[in-house]
């Protein structure tokens, strides 16, 4: 399914050299440090990393949702050819939900408990959808129909009667579906799904991911899937970006990255996944923890946890190309260890 670089058109989202800092009492935390990535039309990009690796902050930056004391200090974010870092709050409001939609990590709390789910889908459509015409009443009727279609699209049984239910009356998987319905209500060009399945059990997880994959194909939109689960990425994403301590350490087409991981961290992530095919294989957890993001030393951030670390790793390491479309932030090349 992966398209070659030469066949792809311009990316719809291009993040280059993004740096997002948080000023804390202990010092400046660089949560995102020099992240560059492209999202192409109709493609799905997986963003993988441990908690605190900066994957959510990267896309909160894209949405313009970085709150004080956070600040984007460097880089540019281009969406459909416009640098959105220059956007006014008004322009952001028009973009959010309409062109780029985001589903939040926790579907249990991301729905407003005081409104029916029908109302919550309806609102987004009423605010953003330009196709509605006629009087207020007619608009409302059209929006209602669209909201109902969304409920059916995401597979809510007996959608019409459930429009009038409150979020607490739905199960976790259903709530996640409703979140997706709200996000997709205005048919955005790009859906950012922040850990859409983390709170769900495995069978529901698969349903929700299949749903996102199906709608992506039907609507021709792009998807960014933020997750800590490489298994999910291997199943549903064309390209993958692996993040560690605020930096991208490896990027490339999913199949190739999974087959021949070039960075010791990616390798570590892969060997931490239990497998049913190979029961004799020993699961190797990565020792240690993600370093604190305050006053990081120069050089590789994985240094302290890496079993291949040498003195050469203590100087600044840039991303290097290892194959077509594949980049890695490591002095070792694939296969050298």
């Amino acid at each position: 399914m992966t398209t070659k670089l030469s066949e792809r058109s311009d990316p719809i989202l291009r993040v280059s050299d993004l740096q997002t800092n948080f000023a804390t009492r202990a010092g400046i935390v660089t949560a995102v440090d020099g992240v560059s990535l492209d999202v192409y039309s109709g493609e799905s990009l997986g963003v993988v990393g441990e908690s605190g690796s900066g994957k959510s902050v990267t896309f909160a930056s894209v949405m313009g949702l970085i709150k004080h004391p956070g600040k984007i200090t460097r880089g540019s974010i281009d969406f459909l050819g416009q640098n959105i870092l220059n956007f006014s709050e008004k322009q952001y409001q028009q973009m959010r939900g309409k062109d780029i939609a985001m589903t939040m990590q926790d579907a249990l709390t991301a729905l407003n408990p005081a409104f029916t789910v029908g109302d919550q889908i309806l609102e987004v459509i009423l605010v953003h959808d330009d196709d509605l015409s006629g009087s207020r009443r007619q608009k409302k009727q059209q929006a209602y129909q669209k909201a109902l279609d969304m409920m059916n699209l995401v597979g809510i049984p007996s959608a019409e009667s459930r429009m009038d239910d409150y979020p607490h009356q739905f199960s976790g998987g259903m709530r996640q579906r409703i979140m997706i319905a709200i996000a997709l209500a205005c048919k955005p060009r790009l859906l950012i799904a922040d850990e859409p399945t983390t709170a769900l059990d495995v069978t529901i997880q698969a349903q929700v991911l299949e749903l996102i994959a199906r709608i992506r194909k039907d609507l021709g939109m792009s998807v960014v899937l933020i997750t800590h689960d490489l298994g999910v990425v291997s199943e549903y994403c064309d390209h993958v970006v692996v993040m560690y301590a605020g930096q991208i350490v490896e990027s490339g087409p999913t199949a190739e990255v999974i087959k021949t991981p070039a960075h010791p961290y990616t390798r570590g992530l892969l060997s931490s996944i239990p497998s049913l095919d190979d029961l004799d294989r020993i699961i190797e957890p990565i020792p240690g923890q993600v370093p604190e993001l305050i006053n990081l030393p120069e050089g590789c951030r994985f240094y302290s946890r890496c079993s291949f670390a040498t003195d050469a790793c203590q100087k600044t390491i840039d991303m290097v190309s290892v194959a077509e479309e594949r980049q890695v932030r490591c002095i070792l090349k694939a296969g050298e260890y």
């Binding site: 409001q93 939040m104 709390t109 991301a110 729905l111 049984p157 009356q169 259903m174």
Partner: protein, 298 residues
């Protein structure tokens, strides 16, 4: 909370408001108290049809007439008459208009201002919050009644001035409640989600946060209404509030002060009316709190 799946027949559960009202009605004390409050409201609205006499009609032959069960009482004037021979029952009925009108208006004005100020302070934070919070602190530092007396002395008596004098300070109470609730609600994930789907600040404040914090505001308003009624009665008792001959419970209590030993009924019955309404409001507000607070649900 019951475990809800996606089957359709369970979806008939009523909205939270209906659920809370049912919860409220389950307590008998709350139910009685709310009926008393409603009773007073009806009394106020229907006063001209219910009152047996004109509240301002004087008849010196009936001066200090005792209630009907005492010797010399007349069933036509069931609670007796005051020093000018006015029917006390009729004056209590008409007096409920003053108390309830002032209580409702002051709470309405104060809650509106308080919600706006509290939302702004809690949501925007920074210097807006500092400015509003300091004003609130300053107003809270004055004793309420003395503050109101000073204002009334400055502006002179009258219905409009009572409203101003009481609302002037009353708004800080809902303001503080709203601010606190907004502080905890503004970091809720649904607020973030609303922002991510393109909602403006005003939309988030009014449509996302406000409906979620309304129940404590309603509860506080009910308690404070009782408080405002007492304050109005106090002002009228001191002669700074409603002016004669308009019947007001506070001034009626004041009128009977001099005859307290021989004609106790002149002060006692309006006093009991204040007691009854304020008590009912307080109990009702407690019932409301229990019904709105999920901690008290089974």
């Amino acid at each position: 909370m019951t475990l809800l799946t996606n089957s359709a027949e369970i979806s008939a559960e009523p909205s939270p408001i209906v659920r809370n009202l049912k919860m409220f009605a389950r307590s008998r004390l709350s139910l009685v108290s709310i009926l008393v409050v409603i009773g007073f409201f009806l009394l106020a609205i229907l006063a001209p049809f219910i009152a047996p006499h004109d509240p301002n009609e004087t008849d010196l032959f009936l001066r200090l007439l005792p209630p009907f069960w005492l010797e010399g009482g007349d069933i036509a004037y069931p609670l007796g008459c005051d020093a000018l021979g006015r029917d006390i029952l009729s004056r209590i009925i008409y007096g409920s208009r003053v108390s309830i009108f002032i209580g409702l208006s002051v709470i309405l004005i104060a809650t509106t201002i308080g919600i706006i100020a509290g939302l702004a302070a809690g949501f925007f934070g920074g210097w807006i919050d500092s400015a509003i919070s300091r004003i609130v602190d300053i107003l809270l530092a004055f004793p309420y009644l003395i503050f109101a007396i000073a204002l009334m002395a400055m502006m002179g008596p009258g219905l409009q001035n009572i409203l101003i004098a009481l609302a002037y300070k009353e708004w800080v109470i809902p303001c503080r409640v709203v601010r606190g609730e907004v502080l905890s609600a503004r970091n809720a994930e649904y607020v973030e989600a609303a922002k991510a789907s393109g909602a403006s600040d005003r939309y988030i404040m009014v449509r996302e946060i406000l409906p979620n914090i309304l129940s404590p505001v309603i509860v506080v308003s009910t308690v404070r209404m009782a408080h405002v009624i007492i304050l109005e009665a106090s002002l009228s008792f001191l002669g700074l509030g409603i002016q004669p001959p308009t019947a007001s419970w506070g001034s009626m209590v004041a009128d009977g002060r001099v005859f307290m030993l021989e004609s106790w009924w002149v002060s006692t019955f309006p006093g009991l009316a204040i007691l009854l309404l304020v008590l009912a409001l307080n109990i009702a507000s407690q019932g409301l709190r229990d019904a709105f607070d999920p901690k008290f649900h089974d």
